[in-house]
């Protein structure tokens, strides 16, 4: 059994956000388990990603399509590209199952996305459900709950 410290868990969340800010998407996708999902619910407290609408509910295939598209030559809405910035509150470890190698963290965040002269601020909470696989932490589920998830938005281009 590998022991994972709280510090390692918290550092994982910080490092994940940094990969997104630096747009290192291949490394970021590598953090997900093969059956991992990225979920942005539409309504506060939403339980079901299947029979209730979400903003995003993507498996690794869809995430890969999304990241490959961002660097595509004909991705007109990313010419010029968007940039993003995560400001995270210190993540708290919500649950730890050392025997099963499963952990959950909650992180309050402010996220800024910019393109051209427009800068948009989003705020919410991220939940990371992590699992130890082959000795390394991997994301089983990253759930992003915006404080105003049911508001009308313009384009949200990148990842929170």
């Amino acid at each position: 059994m590998i022991t994972i410290t709280d510090r390692q868990l918290v550092d994982f969340v910080y490092a994940e956000a940094r990969l997104l800010d630096e747009q290192r998407y291949d490394d970021w996708l590598g953090l997900f388990s093969d059956d991992g999902h990225y979920w942005m619910p539409l309504t506060p407290g939403q339980r079901d990603p299947r029979l209730e609408t979400s903003l995003l509910y993507e498996d690794k295939l869809l995430l890969r399509i999304r990241t490959e598209r961002l660097r595509g030559r004909r991705t007109f809405s990313q010419q010029p590209p968007s940039r993003c910035h995560h400001l995270l509150q210190q993540p708290s470890v919500e649950s730890a199952d050392d025997a099963g190698g499963r952990y959950a963290l909650r992180t309050a965040f402010h996220y800024v996305e910019t393109r051209l002269d427009t800068q948009t601020l989003y705020a919410g909470w991220a939940r990371h459900e992590l699992q130890v696989l082959d000795g390394a932490l991997r994301i089983q589920l990253k759930r992003v709950d915006l404080v105003n998830s049911d508001a009308a938005f313009g384009n949200i281009n990148l990842f929170m």
């Binding site: 942005m40 539409l42 309504t43 299947r50 029979l51 209730e52 609408t53 979400s54 903003l55 995003l56 509910y57 295939l61 869809l62 890969r64 399509i65 999304r66 490959e68 598209r69 595509g72 004909r74 991705t75 007109f76 809405s77 990313q78 049911d150 508001a151 009308a152 938005f153 313009g154 384009n155 949200i156 281009n157």
Partner: protein, 443 residues
């Protein structure tokens, strides 16, 4: 000086057989006139009766830019009222939806209204005795929208008391709503899943034009659908095709596919893409669904219902329906350069959940503010909204496959890349913009 108000001839000059003037998309005065005339003279979608199943249930929305509330009256009928207190003008129903019981109560001075809008009571009523209150507008309560029609649970209204009747306005186009409802083995739809709300900094008509624009997907959506197909092709052979790839892939079909799928236009600016074939024609069968449809309708009729795979049906002015994927998109005008797109989804009552799951996935992948398909559409709309301000070119071209004899022909089918439906919308735009405009006095 007004350029268009009180000048129907100037408005008529904006639409030529194959061109439309840029002012339709950028002129503030025309936008105001659209709200006053076009959105009052046409039948506009309000909501779905399944959103208000019980007496007192209400749903607040807008018709054009006017606030309305759709409510189930105590007698069981659906009413549409202007959401405005007769007293000081406060929006009486404040939430998107809820149950108000037997009456609405204004949060400002406590005036109350029955769910048909009539004034029920107000505090200190004696203070209005002998003031001529009975002859004031306020005594008549919350105004009801002039004409309301519920068609297979879809609620439409016409806010001008005079004008075209419901059946005449829609003609044969109601067949798309029929087909979507018939896809339920019980012949009933329910709003389900939740609504996606996507804010666009562009004129509402750009979105309506786009619904039957079949020459853009292979260009604008190469980045999303094209990437999806390419990434999928790298999967090991024999891997089952995921639902998401089934949804994305048809967007990058070749021009021939879109030419052959066909386009049909009806009266009054209604029309649809996908007559013979469609982007929604080749989804995997859903286990158990066919059997339930056959049990409900018999094999021949079930075949006819499910074989009708219309792509996008535009109900002029600002509604689009996708029958085979049970989606409704409403293009709500906010300002000349601002539009709220609402994408609603339906459960086919009595059908397997997997159909709703696919509908919701489609909506998320294609219609959400997080959609990689929507991102590139919005980019071109916003670039057009900016580009149209350029001087030196004043017209937008809509002349692809134009035929001078088309004007008098309705209920016709043509090449899927014909811009006939856009021209059909523009002719309807002129008709309902000018229908209630007084003619200019001759100088």
């Amino acid at each position: 000086m007004n350029r268009y108000r009180g000048r129907p001839a100037a408005v008529r000059a904006l639409v030529r057989p194959t061109e439309v003037h840029k002012d339709l998309y950028i002129d503030l005065e025309l936008f105001d006139l659209e709200m006053e005339h076009l959105f009052a003279n046409a039948w506009v979608y309000v909501g779905h009766a399944s959103q208000v199943p019980n007496p007192g249930d209400y749903f607040t929305t807008t018709v054009g830019t006017q606030p309305v509330v759709m409510v189930r009256h105590t007698d069981g009928t659906v009413r549409v009222l202007y959401n405005r207190c007769a007293h000081k003008g406060v929006k009486v129903a404040g939430q998107t939806c809820g149950n108000t019981g037997r009456f609405f109560r204004c949060p400002y001075h406590g005036w109350t209204y029955r769910t048909d809008g009539s004034l029920l009571a107000m505090p200190l009523k004696k203070g209005y005795d002998d003031t001529g209150f009975e002859s004031c507008e306020a005594s008549r309560g919350m105004a009801a929208v002039a004409a309301v029609q519920v068609y297979r649970d879809f609620v439409f209204c016409r806010s001008n008391p005079q004008g075209v009747g419901f059946a005449e306005f829609f003609g044969e186009s109601l067949s798309t709503l029929d087909n979507m409802v018939d896809r339920s083995p019980e012949g009933r739809l329910e709003v389900a899943g939740g609504v996606l709300r996507y804010l666009h900094h562009c004129n509402w008509k750009m979105l309506v034009d786009n619904q039957t624009d079949t020459c853009h997907p292979m260009v604008a959506h190469e980045s999303s659908a094209g990437t999806a197909v390419r990434v999928w092709q790298e999967a090991p052979p024999g891997t089952p095709k995921p639902m998401a790839v089934e949804i994305f892939a048809p967007f990058v079909s070749p021009y021939e596919f879109f030419e052959n799928m066909g386009l049909r236009v009806w009266v009054n600016g209604h029309g649809h893409t996908g007559v013979a074939d469609s982007l929604h024609a080749n989804y995997s069968p859903v286990p158990g669904y066919w059997e339930r449809m056959v049990a409900a309708y018999g094999e021949a009729r079930a075949q006819r219902i499910l074989g009708d795979v219309r792509h996008n049906t535009v109900y002029f002015p600002n509604l689009m329906i996708k029958g085979p994927i049970q989606t409704l998109r409403l293009f709500k005008p906010i300002a000349v350069d601002r539009t709220l797109v609402e994408s609603w989804t339906f459960r086919l009552v009595g059908a397997p959940d997997l159909l709703l799951e696919r509908t919701l996935m489609y909506n998320r992948l294609v219609n959400a503010p997080t959609s990689i398909v929507g991102h590139d559409d919005l980019e071109v709309y916003e670039r057009a909204q900016a580009g149209l301000h350029a001087r030196g070119r004043d017209w937008v071209h809509v002349g692809r496959l134009y035929d001078p004899t088309e004007v008098d022909r309705v209920n016709v089918t043509t090449n899927g890349t014909n811009e006939l439906q856009m021209r059909n919308q523009l002719r309807a735009w002129l008709r309902y913009m000018t229908a209630s405009m007084p003619e200019e006095a001759l100088a």
